[in-house]
């Protein structure tokens, strides 16, 4: 007979960050990702849940893996996908984001997936599109689906996030992944330790509930269940943040030696793309603790689940 329905309070219309998302709804996204992974394991890797809908991936900043993951996720759910690449569009001729969105809206798009170098751009698209928007990364601010897939990968390993400690090392200052994880993981019961050189560790993140800061990598990793290395975003650094790459790698690199401090079953994560032998060693990236490729697989399932949550059902 007919399926059960949720009876919780109104769901958020967009996934811009986690401000409006309750732990209950976030856990529902993770729960449904289990089903999406099953779909990806079948001979027919597709379900008709979003048939007839059009999802627009609007990427104003270069990305291959996140865009591909979102596009595949939408197609696995039977949505049509419209790709808007800013470099080859009117945006490169000076058209404003608002005008671009208003033009795209005329194509009867049902949802937008937005990546932009400016923090808040996804909010702006949400305001002018009138349709659900998923933030696929805005400046240094947020990358919520990456954090969800990180949380899902940790939960998959340990069964729950409750009481787990996640150490995130590296260029925290420029990392929207670190920021989103610092918002999300404590909501799901985990503690977050952010670690990096003082120049790359914004003090305000230490005020978030469940988040601590340290510049001591051994202390950060001690007792951690998951250790995430962040990409050193040299393209976002104007200089002056680091003495040298080698100095950084000597102290903050996630490697087998540092992992000795972590819990015995601790896993290694990285949001990619990796600077091997800078923020992470070859051995740690490819070793038995690494779940980096698992993160990629889980990313597709999480994005399918997010699309389901935002697009299925009347408001």
């Amino acid at each position: 007979m007919s399926a059960a329905t949720t009876t919780t309070s109104a769901r958020p219309r967009h996934l811009l960050d986690f401000t409006e998302w309750s732990p209950e709804r976030l856990n529902a996204i993770l729960d449904n990702a289990d089903t999406m992974l099953q779909v990806l394991d079948r001979p027919v890797k597709k379900v008709p849940a979003l048939q007839g809908m059009t999802v627009c991936t609007a990427f104003f900043e270069s990305s291959t893996r996140t865009r591909t993951s979102f596009e595949l996720a939408a197609r696995r759910m039977s949505a049509d996908v419209m790709t808007f690449a800013a470099g080859a569009s009117s945006a490169s001729k000076g058209e404003s984001l608002r005008d671009t969105v208003e033009v795209l809206t005329q194509y009867k798009v049902d949802a937008y997936i937005v990546r932009h170098h400016a923090a808040g751009a996804a909010h702006l698209v949400a305001r002018y599109s009138g349709k659900p928007v998923i933030n696929a990364g805005d400046g240094r601010r947020a990358h919520p689906t990456q954090a969800l897939l990180d949380a899902y990968t940790i939960r998959q390993e340990f069964g729950s996030l409750e009481g787990k400690t996640v150490a995130i090392l590296g260029d925290v200052r420029h990392s929207r992944v670190a920021r989103s994880n610092a918002e999300l993981l404590p909501k799901l019961g985990a503690k977050v330790v952010l670690c990096g050189p003082a120049t790359l560790l914004p003090a305000e993140l230490g005020t978030l509930p469940g988040v601590t800061l340290t510049s001591d990598p051994q202390a950060a990793v001690r007792g951690a269940h998951a250790v995430m290395a962040l990409r050193l975003q040299q393209e976002r650094m104007g200089g002056g943040f680091l003495g040298s790459l080698q100095e950084y790698a000597d102290t903050y690199q996630v490697n087998e030696g540092l992992m000795q401090e972590a819990e015995s079953g601790a896993i290694v994560l990285h949001p990619g793309p990796m600077n091997r032998d800078v923020e992470i060693s070859h051995e740690a990236a490819d070793g038995p603790r690494s779940r980096i490729l698992k993160q990629v697989e889980n990313g597709q399932a999480i994005r399918m689940s997010v699309l389901y949550h935002l697009l299925v059902g009347r408001e």
Binding site: M1, A3, T5, T6, T35, Q38, V39, A49, V312, G313
Partner: protein, 182 residues
């Protein structure tokens, strides 16, 4: 509020499922290539009971699975709330099996249509047959059951409630007025 009528008692449910099991064996000339898949929620315990009865009758283990049809529903864009997705677990290759699809109540036929789509995405079974405990009519699609515990003419203003030990702590089928269950 009370039900308008009791349609099946625990004994009648048991006898109905025993009869269906015999009909399945008769029609399929045994049970050697059968598999049973229940549709969430109450199709699953009914499928398990049928599988046990078939094993008892034929002395062979019958593979069983569970199917969630949520992602295949044709009303996903219209439902007011978001349907919860539950587990689909079919731990065998359906391509070499005659599948008995099991649900508690057959009504409009839309759940069965979704279940057929979901099943076929898992593989190409030798055949699919449909078993339901109650057929209450009002079909909106050209679908009929191969095995029926009880045909029950109903009004659209009525609700058939199937309660089972495994999900509700009691075996009973009741008829209610829709107004009384809202």
């Amino acid at each position: 509020m009370a039900p308008k009528a009791t349609i099946l008692s625990a004994d009648e449910i048991r006898r109905g499922l025993t009869r269906i099991a015999h009909e399945i064996v008769e029609r399929n000339k045994g049970a050697h290539d059968l598999a049973i898949i229940g549709v969430h929620t109450r199709g699953i315990p009914i499928a398990a009971r049928l599988a046990a009865k078939l094993s008892e009758l034929e002395g062979v283990e019958i593979p069983t699975g569970m199917l969630d049809i949520t992602l295949y529903r044709d009303d996903l864009s219209e439902v007011a709330h978001q349907p919860i997705i539950r587990e689909t677990h079919v731990p065998f290759d359906i391509a070499r099996r005659r599948v008995i699809l099991v649900d508690d109540v057959l009504y409009t036929g839309r759940t069965v249509r979704a279940a057929l789509d979901a099943l076929i995405d898992l593989g190409r079974p030798l055949g699919i047959q449909l078993a339901v405990l109650i057929d209450r009519g009002h079909r909106e699609l050209p679908i009929r059951a191969d095995y029926v515990g009880k045909n029950l003419p109903t009004a659209k203003s009525e609700v058939v409630k199937v309660k089972l030990q495994e999900t509700d702590g009691v075996d009973i089928v009741e008829l209610w007025d829709l107004e009384d269950v809202k």
